[in-house]
Amino acid sequence: MTQFSRNTEVQGGTLMVDPITGNERWAVHARGLRKRYGKVVALAGVDLAVPEGSVVLLAGPNGAGKTTLLKLLLDLLPPDGGEVEVLGRNPSHRGHEVRAGTGFLPEEVAFPFGRMSVQEMIGFHARFRPGWDPEYAQYLANQLELRMDRPWKKLSKGEARRAQLLTALAHRPALLLLDEPTDGLDPLVRERVLALLAEHLVETGATTLYCTHVLHEAQSLADRLLILRAGSVQVDEGIEELRQTHRRVRIRSRAPDTPAPPAPAFVVREEGRSGEEVRWVVRASEADVRGWAEEHACDVAHVEGVSVADTALAYLTDGGDR
């Protein structure tokens, strides 16, 4: 079971602290990172500190800057301003070292390999990846049901995605940058890919930025949520903290035919409203909501937990940035 593992047990917490300085260690650290394409601002000053070994769910609407951020981290694009350090290195100066230590799954499926077979394409990648493990690559190929003799240009989108995933994982990089890793995969393969990723993270402890619109399938894999909106960080918080601080509530006006009051500041998103009743995702304790309801002549009809995926959705919805 553990023949591929480098360290079977991730030393929870201890990995994130420098043994000499005692400081927390960051796999990615950015300050005021800016990028524009002509007049379009892609990143408007991003501050980011990703602790070593954490798994960050990176969400945001299209055009929020997610893909741009990943590309700046790998020096595939130059920043217009700000500072960034990845795996302790400045990507602008030591980009090849950063890329060698990273498994990158780009958003787009590229087909530059023409007549090469899957096997040849994988061999091509292996030559440039220090730490490439042929046995692990074979294991992944089996798990992903990749047909090695298929010519690259004849692959379906899903097959190409699986081959790309293999090349991102098989050298067990310290950093994984995954841009929509399950995009184009059928439901069964999605399940398998997510399980493989979870197992991979147990064995490698890799720091991961997991970029996706399909939040529910990755929400329990992550331990941090990062939301980008219009090129800025809107949310950057631990998963458990989000789960503890957010609730879904249903509030009802006590007086008949009286609409529920407008949303107070602790409401992240109004999910629905009908007559006397309103449904909100709130950032508040149940006691705070009850206190507010008491003051506004309302009953709290229901309180429940809210998943990280729904919390993220609440922040992503227009008006969710109050």
């Binding site: 047990e9 929870g12 070994g53 399980a195 147990v202 064995e203 894999l221 503890q244 429940e304 937990g305």
Partner: protein, 146 residues
């Protein structure tokens, strides 16, 4: 050996995910699905099965070891402790069940007495053959999105 698919976690449940795993394991021990010295799934297996962050699973196992439900053999994995006090664990599981049911009832404006009566009626209506510990699962109300 615990079979895959036994443990379930609920992303809408506000309890921390590692606590949910702990409760699932305690229930399996109380219900007899996990017996003394049974091997637990490895962290890798359980993380893969439930798509969980490695630290979540490790934290659950660490806490279960600390409370004496599991013991860890280095290099071999985690096992159910033969010394585990099933009576006490059963009491804990039941108390947790009752507290959560009472909370839900209070939110729906139902008194403890009404709830008790409703439970008896429901148990009679359904034949009452189920082990209450195994059959309960849905806790927090999910009627909102219905």
């Amino acid at each position: 050996m615990a079979t895959p698919g036994r443990f379930r976690i609920d992303p809408d449940d506000p309890r921390p995910l590692y606590v949910q795993i702990m409760d699932e394991v305690r229930r399996a021990v109380v219900g007899g699905a996990l017996r003394s010295d049974d091997a637990m799934p490895s962290v890798r297996e359980l993380a893969g099965e439930l798509r969980l962050n490695p630290n979540t699973v490790q934290q659950a196992y660490r806490e279960l070891e600390r409370e004496g439900t599991l013991y860890i053999l280095r290099g071999r994995g985690s096992f159910v402790a033969p010394t585990v006090d099933r009576g006490a664990l059963r009491g804990e599981v039941l108390r947790d069940l009752a507290e959560r049911a009472l909370e839900e009832a209070a939110r729906a404006g139902v008194s403890p007495e009404e709830l008790e009566r409703a439970i008896r009626d429901a148990a009679q209506g359904s034949g009452g053959g189920d082990d209450p510990v195994q059959s309960q699962h849905r806790s927090s109300g999910r009627d909102v999105d219905g």
